[in-house]
Amino acid sequence: MKKNFITTNNFLAKSFLVGLSITAAFFSLTFAIVPSKNYSNSFRVSPESAALTLANPSGSIKITTWDKAEIKLSAVSDDTVEISDHQQGSSVQVEIRCPKIGQSNFEINVPTNCSLDLKCLKGPIEISNAAGPISVQTTEGDILLNNLSSSNIVAKSTNGMITYSGTLSRKGIYNFSSVESTINISLPETTPFTLSATALPEKINLGGFKLTDLIPHERRVSGNHAGGGASLNIHTHRGQIKLNKLLKK
């Protein structure tokens, strides 16, 4: 009788433990998958005066251009994130609110000459084929500027690599700076520019670009390429600066 009593109790205890484990596993799986939501909106804009401002605390921003007179935004974000937008004329401003750091990953289409002002605290920014004025800033996040033909670019990061490929306009102004990371600049080999590259000694690689009117300094290389032209200012405190020649297609 006593033995039966113990056996019954063991059975109950084991059943309880198994049940508890299954419930715990179910709940942990449920909460491990962070609920997400989708955001999408389009705005009619004038292609020549279009402007987009977006500051994303966490997550990525990917911009591609198109021929439409429209800015199209779509994002997948954590459930805690609130995305709101506002249009005034051809300027679109996107605001993100999140009590906790929640991710939002944006994919955006803009007209080619759209002016862009983008910020990410934690996450990468990628822009392709744009030609309007560009200001991009990250704290921790790489900046990838691919095939651009803008005449005014500011790209800054605290701790994120900056990669640029594209053309420079002769009177354009290009400022690239990163405190901690490497800056890669790829240009057509005949591009005329006036370079000011500042980094730790021996961390500047001109990649075969021959400069004239060189001003020697331990931490800076400055001079003209192809007679000088676009103002190309590159600064990194602890990273490297690499210039590369774009291969002809």
């Binding site: 500051a55 605390p57 605001e95 993100i96 609110r97 999140c98 009590p99 906790k100 750091i101 910020k119 605290l121 934690k122 004025p133 200001s135 800033q137 704290t139 921790e140 005014n152 500011v154 800054k156 605290t158 701790n159 009177k171 102004i173 400022n175 700076s177 405190v179 901690e180 000011s196 500042t198 300094h217 931490r219 800076r220 103002s231 200012n233 600064h235 405190h237 602890r238």
Partner: protein, 225 residues
């Protein structure tokens, strides 16, 4: 002229102290350069805010009340034969200087002493190992207005950041701590370089750029909603 040269001229540009040709050059550059335009707007904002600060003057009623109270207290004290010292002391008390006037005089004296000691002291050996930002700043012979303005902006933003820090998500706090450390390290290294090369304009630019980076970082975190 590069961007930092233009930024050095912004204070004079704001005050209208630049000659016509330089003023036009700066104005044209501001139209073309987003970064300098941003610095210009920040400076303009600082000037505007400081102009809006109320001019505080001491309320006479308060001082009159204090004087009256002092007279009442001293009058109520028992009269005893006065020694030479107490007569001297009382004579000083009756001297009609208000407390703000005394404070102002003492502050002026302290400033004069500080200036005298700063300009008469020439550092012989600078111990770079015991570097601290404040000590180095006191030893820099040329005080640059752009640097001072940037430092003042950093102080203001740092104060606001401290106020909001506790409300942030722990992940944001970690992100902030990590990156502010990186920027502060670059400021510290630039300061050390400046001590070794005090007249090097490139090194001076490094400090300005590091300050601007700190301002950018603080502003980014303060803009969190």
């Amino acid at each position: 002229m590069n961007c930092l040269d233009y930024q050095d001229l912004l204070s004079e540009y704001l005050d209208g102290d630049l000659k016509e040709n330089k003023r036009v050059m700066v104005s044209e550059h501001l139209k073309a350069c987003q970064e300098c335009n941003l610095v210009y707007k920040e400076l303009k904002q600082i000037v505007n805010v400081s102009q809006q600060l109320p001019l505080l003057s001491p309320e006479n009623k308060i001082w009159q009340k204090i004087e009256k109270d002092i007279k009442e207290i001293t009058a109520s004290q028992p009269t005893t034969p006065k020694s030479l010292w107490s007569r001297f002391w009382n004579y000083r008390l009756e001297f009609s200087l208000s407390v703000p006037q005394i404070t102002g005089t003492l502050a002026t004296l302290a400033i004069l002493l500080l200036f005298a000691s700063t300009f008469s002291y020439v550092p012989q050996n600078i111990n770079l190992g015991s570097f601290s930002q404040n000590t180095v700043m006191a030893q820099v012979p040329i005080v640059n207005t752009t640097e001072m303005e940037l430092e003042s902006t950093i102080d203001r933003l740092s104060h606001s950041t401290t106020e909001r820090y506790q409300d942030w998500d722990p992940e944001i706090q970690k992100l902030f701590d990590r990156n502010i450390k990186i920027v502060d390290k670059s400021i510290e290294e630039s300061r050390l370089l400046e001590k070794r090369n005090p007249n090097d304009p490139v090194v001076h630019e490094l400090i300005i750029t590091a300050y601007q980076e700190k301002i950018r970082l603080l502003e980014q975190f303060l803009s969190l909603k």
